[in-house]
């Protein structure tokens, strides 16, 4: 019974204690600061810098760093700092929303498959189907069917935002679902969940108190990877003409455009690439801290 003991009796943690533990966890401060800086830059950077990211100055093409253009300019003389900050808004918004959607669907499917016996096989084969579907034709079809109606509902850019988030979210929940299902199966076989069930703990409470907290860490790793992929997928889609208008800067697109100039101007790739990495690193560090703080088993050992 030694296995079950530490988890079977989770003392109700006070909110304040959880928060204190979270803040104390290593990496959380670094991760939080990184993300905060990026978000602030995205929100207020364009206001402070004031240059128009779409303004073309054909006399100032392909410039290196200078006081007027701290990150240089692109092949049409657009200011790269302004583009990087404008891109941050789109990339962060799409990346975080799509990851959120994927988490939501993945958690739902994974929990249902793990908890409800007769749903397991159909849901897992649905997951297999979604894993096998070729992405590009699927997205082309979605754009064809939904672009016009959505644009009519919310305007071209709002409609495109919803469509992108839906497209990316709906095609990246499968790993989360399978991971969570595996964890649920594992946890359900353990004594403490059996005991909880025998004591008549309702399933919702079982999930919230016992299953989710213990299954959190692989899900969060998956979410961080999903975030990186969502930011890049957005740019790939826009590049293929399935996303935002072509003059709309996003991090992925900036990186893509910089590839051909890797030898002439390596800095062009460095900044958007660094921004994507910094975002993902921030989320990873936060997620690590979160796991440590919320895991009932680790509460005595928080450093």
């Amino acid at each position: 019974m030694a296995v079950a003991e530490p988890r079977a009796l989770p003392a109700a943690p006070g909110r304040a204690r959880a928060l204190r533990r979270l803040l104390a966890a290593r990496g959380v401060a670094t991760g939080g600061a990184l993300l905060a800086a990026l978000l602030l830059g995205a929100l207020f950077g364009p206001l402070l810098w004031g240059q128009d990211p779409a303004h073309i100055d054909l006399t100032a093409r392909n410039l290196g760093a200078s006081p007027a253009h701290p990150l240089g300019t692109d092949q049409l003389g657009r200011d790269l700092l302004a583009r990087l900050m404008a891109g941050a808004r789109v990339s962060l918004a799409v990346g975080l929303s799509a990851t959120g959607l994927a988490l939501l669907i993945g958690t739902g499917v994974g929990l249902l498959a793990g908890m409800v016996r007769w749903l397991d096989a159909p849901l897992m084969r649905l997951t297999d189907l979604c894993l096998a579907l070729p992405l590009l034709p699927l997205l082309l079809l979605m754009m064809m069917l939904f672009r016009a109606p959505l644009a009519a509902l919310t305007g071209p850019e709002g409609g495109m935002f919803l469509l992108m988030v839906a497209a990316i979210g709906l095609t990246s929940w499968m790993q989360i679902a399978r991971l969570l299902r595996g964890e649920v199966l594992r946890l359900q076989a353990l004594e403490f969940t059996r005991a909880a069930r025998a004591l008549g703990v309702p399933p919702a409470r079982l999930v919230a108190r016992h299953i989710l907290p213990n299954a959190l860490s692989p899900i969060l790793v998956s979410a961080a990877i999903c975030l990186a992929q969502a930011i890049l997928t957005e740019s790939a889609l826009s590049f293929l003409g399935l996303g935002f208008p072509p003059d709309f800067p996003t991090w992925g697109r900036l990186l893509l455009e910089a590839i051909d100039h890797l030898q002439t101007n390596p800095g062009r790739a460095l900044w958007p690439g660094g921004a994507i990495t910094a975002t993902v690193l921030g989320v990873t560090l936060l997620a690590d801290g979160l796991t440590e703080a919320l895991d009932p088993r680790r509460r005595t050992r928080v450093p």
Binding site: D120, L129, P134, M144, R186, A189, A224, I259, L281, T291
Partner: protein, 343 residues
């Protein structure tokens, strides 16, 4: 056990047929046309005649039925003929690509070696790096190793392969001239010299794929191992005075492998799907490149065949993962076992 596995496979077959149909319907409904890559100078009536010659005018269900028969009956017969020298298939029509006008499966078989070598090896090396790195990082959380590994892993999966691939070419092919930037698929390994060439041309693409996979899998391994090390019985083992090494490898690893098996089972079929971007950058021209060119050319028979083979592998890999759950932790009842024998 084998009986149950068989029963489960039998249940899986209709699912695969359903998946095939959904994919076919999707491809049929998606916009695009096999004539898209033809130059604009070809007049509309000629395009119409070419479409007709491809059989595009037939109703969707007829086309699907035709494909189904060819893929599940004719193609296996051809494969048997090829392997055993029999003559079962005769002159029956095979699945023909719209783009190349050649049997799809012949091209797939032609592409398999380079994909397995480059993508398969990249995946394997990635796993071999990721597992020890993840375990070590979890055993020493917040150590310098753990921090550097986290940073590298984050870089590894947040930088796209179109970037890392070109970066490696610029440094190692253009700058240093150590490795070729273009993969020669016709190279046959017949001597030490050609073996050297083969290894040299594999270094860059394999590195890109290995890095990307190692980055992801090591994060899962670390997370799972951290969890496993918190388990009660591990604490008991520690309290008994077992060495940390014995605790980690002897006791915790087995439990920690469960989510890692899930991730590996999700990743393994991807080897067959190829690494589209890496294959394009280094011109490995494997199955990934085949799929993407077929999609761009709206080559429905090719895309359908590749995707369904891919789906079969995914279903199989996930079944294997469920079996592996049971082996790793006998208390778990996944898959068929859950429907029976629960007392």
């Amino acid at each position: 056990m084998p009986g149950r596995a068989l029963r489960r496979i039998a249940v899986t077959l209709p699912t695969v047929l359903l998946i095939s149909f959904v994919i076919f319907a999707l491809l049929d409904a998606a916009p695009g046309d096999p004539m898209a890559q033809m130059p604009l100078t070809i007049p509309p009536d000629v395009r119409a005649a070419m479409r007709e010659a491809l059989g595009l005018d037939a109703p969707m269900l007829t086309q699907f039925g035709h494909w189904l028969w060819q893929f599940f009956v004719i193609e296996p017969l051809h494969l048997m003929d090829r392997l055993l020298g029999t003559g079962l298939a005769g002159e029956s029509a095979r699945v023909i690509s719209w783009q190349t006008r050649a049997p799809v499966m012949d091209t797939v078989i032609e592409r398999l070696p380079q994909t397995l070598w480059v993508v398969g090896l990249g995946y394997l090396i990635g796993v071999l790096i990721a597992l020890p790195a993840g375990i070590y990082a979890a055993a020493r959380p917040h150590s310098r190793f753990d921090r550097i590994a986290t940073l590298l892993a984050t870089l590894g999966f947040s930088l796209p392969t179109f970037f890392t691939g070109v970066l490696l070419i610029v440094v190692f092919s253009v700058g240093l001239g150590w490795f070729p930037s273009i993969y020669d698929t016709t190279l046959r390994v017949t001597s030490l010299d050609t073996l050297g060439q083969q290894l040299r041309q594999m270094v860059l693409p394999v590195s890109v794929i290995a890095l990307y996979n190692a980055a992801q899998i090591s994060r899962f391994m670390r997370a799972a191992m951290r969890d496993a090390l918190q388990e009660g019985h591990i604490r008991t083992a520690r309290a008994k005075g077992l060495s940390e090494r014995a605790v980690v490898l002897g006791h915790a690893l087995r439990g920690a492998m469960l989510p890692v098996v899930t991730v590996l089972a999700l990743g393994a079929p991807q080897v067959f799907a190829g690494a589209i971007i890496t294959e394009q950058v280094f011109r490995v021209n494997g199955l990934g490149q085949l799929l993407i060119t077929a999609i761009q050319a709206n080559d429905l028979p090719m895309v359908q065949t590749l995707t369904v083979i891919f789906a079969l592998l995914i279903v199989a890999a996930n079944l294997l993962a469920d079996l592996a759950y049971g082996l790793l932790d006998p208390r778990i009842k996944a898959g068929v076992d859950r429907h029976h024998g629960r007392g």
